[in-house]
């Protein structure tokens, strides 16, 4: 260190004492370094207020549109696409063999 040629000034400067780091810093620094799964379970994220409002508004609008579209559709009775009661097995089966061109060569 460059020698301070003024001990009186040095002594006066030393009168301004600042305490060490507060205990809350330990939690902020040592508590923050955790694994991703721990973060997924108990992590917190800070969202700026405008972004939070925008996301909330978008969710409300999307919910309103979904509800409105759902109400517009008329309720239709559920009906089967086909009925197995009319199903009849084939009476005569005629097997026809078709040969390919390669088989004749």
């Amino acid at each position: 260190m460059e020698p301070n040629d003024d001990p009186q000034l040095r002594q006066l400067l030393r009168e301004w004492q600042v305490p060490g780091a507060p205990p809350s810093l330990d939690a902020k620094v040592l508590g923050r370094r955790r694994s991703w799964w721990s973060f997924l379970l108990s992590g917190q994220i800070h969202v700026p207020v405008p972004v939070g409002f925008a996301v909330a508004a978008a969710l409300v609008v999307m919910t309103a549109i979904t509800v409105r579209d759902h109400r517009r559709l008329p309720a239709q009775p559920a009906r089967p696409l086909f009925n197995l009661r009319d199903f009849q097995p084939v009476q005569n089966i005629q097997v026809r063999v078709i040969r390919s061109n390669y088989a004749n060569e």
Binding site: N4, L13, V29
Partner: protein, 170 residues
């Protein structure tokens, strides 16, 4: 960087970083934020610290210093970081404690003079260490320290015993 190594670094340097940031910003909350950012940056990117370039303390103080100056530029975009022509007058001490006066005097200094004085007087760092932390050459550190001390002598003249007609101009 391993967990024990990080913990050791944190416990060794947290007070130095916090005190430096507190003296530079004048705010305990800002100092806590700055110290936190420095340590989390070290944890996330330990490869940014190269032991061959200097001590970890100087590296961390350099990081803290950059964050302090970034805040300064955001809060006071038109104020210069260094004002060589600045000659301070004595402070008005009415109704103020000596420690408060010293704090106010240091905050009157331009940031680059202030950091040099804080690192030299309070953290007892060598000129080389200050140069490493502030990423500037020795001559600049000497000059800032000299001007900073001169200004402090003028600012704190009412608290110092007068040597001659004008204190700090010898």
């Amino acid at each position: 960087m391993t967990e024990p190594a990080f913990q050791a670094a944190y416990h060794s340097h947290k007070d130095v970083l916090y005190r430096f940031a507190c003296r530079m910003t004048g705010s305990a909350a800002a100092a806590e934020d700055i110290a936190q950012d420095c340590f989390l940056a070290l944890w996330r990117n330990p490869q940014t610290y190269d032991p061959s370039r200097g001590a970890l303390r100087a590296f961390l103080l350099g990081m803290a210093r950059n964050l302090v100056l970034k805040r300064w530029r955001t809060q006071r975009p038109h104020d210069p970081l260094e004002d060589e022509s600045l000659i301070c007058g004595p402070l008005d001490l009415e109704g103020e404690e000596r420690a408060q006066t010293v704090a106010r005097a240091l905050h009157t200094l331009p940031p680059l003079q202030r950091e040099a004085v804080i690192l030299a007087e309070y953290e007892e760092m060598s000129l080389e260490e200050i140069a490493s932390a502030t990423e500037c050459d020795l001559a600049a550190v000497k000059s800032r320290l000299h001007r900073g001390r001169q200004n402090l002598r003028r600012l704190l003249a009412p608290l110092l015993e007068v040597k001659g007609s004008t204190y700090g101009t010898k």
